[in-house]
Amino acid sequence: MRKWLLKMMCVVLILTVLSMILTSCGKQEKEGVSSKSEGSDVGETKGTESSGGSSGKITLTFWNGFTGSDGEVLRDIVNRFNENNGKNIEIKMDIMPWDTYFQKLPPAIATNTAPSFVLMGAEYIPEYVSNNSIQPLDDFWSTTGLNESNFVKNVLDMYKYQGKYYMTPMQYNLMYLYWNKDLFKDAGLDPEKPPETWEQLGEYAVKLTDPSKQQYGFGATKDDALAPLIWGNGGEFWDADNQKSLLDSPQNIKTYEWLQDLVVNKKVSPKGATGADLDNLLKSGKLAMYISGPWQVNGLRTEGINFGITAPPKGTVTQASPIGGCGFAIPRGTSDELKTAVYEFAKYWLSTEILKEWTMKNGFPPFSEEVINDPDILNDEIQKSIAPLGTLGKSYNLGIVVGSQLHNDVIEPMMDTILMGMGDPANEVKKASEMIDQIFQNSK
């Protein structure tokens, strides 16, 4: 009797496992495209199997690093495109963290297993072009019939390299000064008046710092968010055209000395904090002032922080902010047919409806005339503050083949040393300047 029971239990167990395997297989089938195209990761054209469709189904694979809340909006837009494009194009999107993305993409391109198209920062164009890894997209405007002059020229220029387009526009941004209005009020400052000069920012930061509450006046990062400080005081990082360093200048040394005093001696910024740490502090209402891109807007709104957003402060000489942006790029292995399909999506992206949605939901400034003049955009609180700032945009490391290397290998370590108080700015600037020249020299 017991043996019989045991046998029955085994049979039931095996049946359950089998049915689970079968159903999971079935699901994959239902999800559409066969697993073959997933494995190879290269978009492929399927034969004319669908009923009614005049041409076959085109599957595009698409990688990007939008892991934040903006990724949700992007997914939503891609899904809508898949449903409504009318040309039987299906985009299979794969979102992964940027660092994973940049590890996977180069070898994928080299081994011909890259996705049909990708999203990437415009600063990567020269590097990928010099390695023959992305295609020129000069025929984008003529193929899609879109009017080039309908978009802000400054923004479009970002996607060009050596006179050719290598990306189609997706979003652009400057760096902005965020300030926490509640913390300003508590410190006895006018919550509607952010600092206008760096000098003022320094004074405010000291007032806004309260160690007992783990509250900091200003978040100093090692990324390009502090470029406005250097530029503002009349300094420069490098001369990209002549490939030489301009870092070792008296005004830069003075600027970095001022910054070091503010961070190390006056302790207005948490020691050794990374960008992610500062983002968290800002979102938890413990950071009074911070320079960052529009991607903070969504998170701050969700956390209910009472914040304002404006231009980075003026320096003693001028006011400027680094411009950056993402675009759609097509790896070299993508066929012409798939490229045309990618153009369809890029065109869809540039429609007023989608650009407006992206601007409203994520806070990125608009760059098409129609969206800029849209009444909803004109009345949006965030856009009212940042839309007029477009003229402040200045390139930090765009259009330089070794741009990301200069930033990662020289500027970041130098900023780290200065902000940790582990080196004298004059010394560090000199060392960094020599390294910049060396990197330019090697790239020739």
């Binding site: 050794g272 290397q405 582990m422």
Partner: protein, 309 residues
């Protein structure tokens, strides 16, 4: 017909050949030999080759550069910094882990219920993934959000940066690594200690020797082979340290925790110009360094064993 017969004969010959125990061993070795060749030996050779090329991850513009990558290495400050950090990590991690595990092993080796329970508890971190452990500890140690600095503030110790502090970052990483790995070393040592016959201890007790003397004069000399195994594997693991620094510090602050493997990763895979050739050159140096250190340590233990016997 004749052909079939010949086929049969050669088959039988093959069977009888491999049926001898010393020949059959090759068949049993084959799977691991194959995996070893494909995943260890060939990559080793490949990286040696790659280190002599100017090659990036896009596999474009490849050119032979001879020993250029190795020459560049000599003048690369960041390489020497990583070299120093790796040695510092090893010099701190290995002794702490071995001594700590040895003392605990001596305590938990008795098979009582409580001590067996302790053994299981100490083993838990070994089972966890280093990534998960790293993330949890970096949150716990975070100067602004973490529990540990918060508790320390009650003791009047404020402003301890742990992983954010240039001086404390490496020792913190070492302590977390020890916490994660001591369980395994301890279990191996417990097995070593338990294999020592009780008679030695009984004899020592009759002679009036106390626990400490027994530990120094009986336990340690008799587990030298186990100790040498633990030390050598620990040294190899320490020289290849990567996961913990990658997850917790990314080599910072100011490169204070950048180790050789982290540097190889950064140069080859993380930042432009994705210099695979140079990264491979660093990997070759690391390989040589591990080989030399391990041979030296191994000989030290072999001499120790023979002297003791």
């Amino acid at each position: 017909m004749e052909r079939e017969e010949r086929n049969m004969k050669s088959k039988i010959k093959l069977f009888t050949y491999f049926n001898k125990p010393d020949k059959a061993a090759y068949i049993f070795l084959l799977p691991s030999f194959l995996t070893f060749t494909v995943f260890i030996f060939m990559p080793l050779l490949a990286s040696l080759l790659i280190s002599m090329f100017d090659i990036n991850i896009f596999l474009e513009n490849i050119s032979f550069s001879g020993l250029e990558n190795f020459k560049r290495l000599i003048f690369d400050q960041r390489f020497w910094n990583a070299f120093k950090n790796t040695l510092y990590f090893t010099a701190l991690e290995v002794p702490i882990q071995i001594i700590f595990s040895l003392l605990l092993a001596a305590y938990v080796q008795k098979n009582t219920v409580f001590r067996r329970f302790l053994r299981s508890c100490f083993f838990i971190p070994v089972v966890c993934s280093m990534t998960a452990v790293g993330i949890v500890w970096s949150i716990l140690m975070d100067p602004t959000l973490g529990t540990v600095p918060y508790m320390l503030r009650f003791l009047g110790l404020s402003d301890i940066g742990f992983l954010k502090d240039p001086l404390l970052a490496m020792p913190t990483v070492v302590l977390i690594t020890v916490w994660k790995n001591f369980g395994l070393t301890m279990i191996i040592l417990v097995a070593g200690i338990q294999s020592i016959p009780d008679t030695y201890y009984e004899a020592a007790e009759i002679d009036g020797s106390n626990k400490w003397n027994q530990f120094i004069n009986i336990t340690i000399p008799l587990i030298i082979p186990t100790l040498s195994f633990c030390t050598i594997t620990n040294i190899i693991n320490s020289l290849q340290v990567f996961d913990q620094t990658y997850v917790m510090t990314k080599g910072g602050p100011v490169f204070k925790t950048e180790t050789l493997v982290q540097y190889i990763y950064t140069r080859g895979f993380a930042v432009a110009p994705y210099d695979l050739g140079y990264a491979s050159a660093v990997a070759e140096v690391l390989f040589l360094m591990i080989a030399v250190i391990v041979v030296l340590i191994y000989q030290f233990f072999v001499r120790k064993e023979t002297v003791d016997v």
